[in-house]
Amino acid sequence: MKDKVIAPLPAGQDSARDGGADLPRTGAPATVREQTPLQRHFAEFCESRIAVAGLVVLVLLCLLALFAPWVAPQDPYDLSRLDIMDSRMEPGKQSMDGLTFVLGSDGQGRDMLSAIIYGLRISIGVGVASTLIALAIGMTVGLLAGYVGGRTEAVIMRIADIQLSFPAILLALILLALLRPGLSNIVIALVAVQWAYYARTTRGAALVERRKEYIEAARGLGLSPLRIVFRHLLPNCLPPLIVVAALQVASAIALEATLSFLGLGVPVTEPSLGLLISNGFRYLLSGQYWISFFPGVALLITIVAINLVADRLRDVLNPRLQTH
């Protein structure tokens, strides 16, 4: 074998050692300690005032929901504390034992403000829980379909197509009718309605990402398929998923409200926002607007806030819309 050596360019060899020509001039330690991607995205998110407002409102609502027992003036679930004499009081009136009904009271004499705060808790809880479960399921099958391809993909995606061809409300109604209304069943119904969106989104992203060379390189390194899918493929598919999930929380809350309004949702004793609206519905025409109106406003604010945040997330996480 001939002993042949390429004569390196003198400068080239030097820079090979100290990395001079090849390295960004900022120097190694400085570039390593630059903003993390999370910080960068957050800074970009904050460039939109309306999105920040949405985020603030959303955080407040979540805190309210989380700390409901400490924030709410009354425990709306404690039926022994309710007095039928306090029913349908106007906003601002006082109850028999001196509690001010800031937003009025409903047909059972419940303080509307407390009921809304507790209802918010159920609505947001159901929305987030069903979204997370649906996300986990949809993401897994979507990744599987996108990475494995072939017959597996065809079967999974056809099931998703069939599911998506039903109107969401119809599917949820059928499921709830079969399973009987209840908090956990409503979550199951919402998951069944939602998973296909995530499966589709994930598969789309996975199809694009799996053709990239880093996946090929990971295979070339002899990594196990599970590791490639969850460690390499998944993080690169996340941005669109985060956006879809954020939007789906809003639609899950809306759908839960619809189902509760139709009487197929949560139990009457623990009303969500949708059930509160439904309870006050029949008093609307008699001028006692507050029983339906205020839960409706709370629902509206929640969904708008989530959508504002999700819209901004979409702009921030979409590389194609990025200006810099």
Binding site: M1, K4, I6, Y214, G220, L221, G222, R231, H232, N236
Partner: protein
């Protein structure tokens, strides 16, 4: 000496709806420890597919349908997917063309390097990290300790390709397959990387298969070269023999079409370079006989009727091989067709 890799009659076909595309059709070569073999050819000549076949990454509808791939005497085609996975990245590593794309953009360098080690060895994370640091230092990355914590986007193209090379070197493989790893880089960085790769091979006895269409890279880097055309090797031998005195009309045409060869012929500026007429034939319908005959100035009737075989040339070089009925004689070859 057992060659690091011996490929015998390798056939990789793509079973498409339009027919069978014979991307690799009976390829033979062997690479000795520490040897650098260049695999050259035009786009679509099957050189990349040969590389993918060796490491077992041929995707559907492609399939290896024949031949043997012997890694130190063991036939990789007998291995299960599971066994192949233990060989990939461990005994055979691959470096890909585009350094921008071969690193996962969302994972830090240390994560990607450590998992390449832990996928094949029972070793603590700290020890694996130390090995990763050593490997980065070996390919000339400055301050490797800090660089381990960086993301791929914080590296320039040349640095990323070095990281990719460092990852390939992690498990001290017997063989590294390089699929045009310097094509996307500028020539200065290409020069550095070629120099380092050559040094690494000499020091560690690692064999290298360098897939490229750039003859000048081969001339400077490789020990031997195999020229591929339409899925077959048409000429093979030591670099000096093949490039200085090509016997196959295709090799001769390739060399004659480079600016350096033109300059040697007293080519004036502004004149078009010599080129091989015609186009690469579609792999779905190769001409009968010699695949190159339609573009060959020396083709005769026998080239139409019979496919030429790869014949080893006698002389003192046992490794010279040629697939042509009408090879150029040494005298005409030197003058470039």
């Amino acid at each position: 000496m057992i060659p690091t890799l011996a490929v015998e009659q390798l056939q990789t076909h793509f079973l498409t709806k339009a027919g069978v595309a014979k991307a690799v059709d009976g390829v033979d070569f062997s690479v000795n420890p520490g040897e650098i073999m260049g695999l050259v050819g035009e786009s679509g000549s099957g050189k990349s597919m040969t590389g993918y076949s060796i490491i077992g990454l041929v995707d559907e509808p492609g399939r290896i349908v024949g031949g043997r791939i012997l890694l130190k005497g063991e036939d990789l085609r007998q291995y299960s997917q599971q066994q192949l996975r233990q060989i990939r990245g461990n005994r055979i590593a691959m470096i890909f063309q585009d350094p921008m794309m071969t690193l996962n953009p969302v994972l830090r360098i240390d994560t990607q390097m450590i998992e390449a080690i832990t996928a094949h060895h029972r070793i603590s994370r700290a020890a694996a990290r130390e090995r990763a640091r050593e490997s980065l230092a070996r390919v000339g990355i400055p301050s490797p300790e800090e660089r381990l914590g960086a993301y791929p986007h914080q590296f320039s193209g040349g640095m990323r390709q070095r990281v990719a090379i460092a990852i390939a070197l992690l498990n001290k493989p017997d063989l590294i397959i390089c699929d045009e790893p310097t094509t996307a880089l500028d020539v200065t960085i290409q020069g550095q990387i070629l120099f380092e790769m050559q040094k690494l091979c000499r020091e560690s006895g690692t064999s290298l298969i360098w897939i490229t269409h750039d003859l000048s890279v081969i001339a400077g880097l490789a020990d031997s070269v195999s020229v591929m055309y339409a899925g077959r090797i048409v000429e093979a031998g030591p670099v000096a023999d093949v490039l200085e005195a090509p016997r196959h009309p295709y090799t001769a045409g390739l060399i004659a079409s480079t600016p350096a060869a033109a300059a040697r012929r007293g080519h004036a500026r502004g004149q078009p370079l010599a080129q091989i007429p015609g186009m690469t034939p579609s792999l779905l319908k190769l001409p009968a006989g010699c695949a190159f005959r339609l573009r060959c100035p020396r083709a005769t009737d026998i080239c139409v009727t019979e496919p030429p075989l790869l014949v080893s040339e006698g002389r003192d070089h046992a490794r010279l091989a040629l697939r042509c009925f009408h090879p150029l004689s040494a005298a005409t070859a030197a003058s470039g067709v």
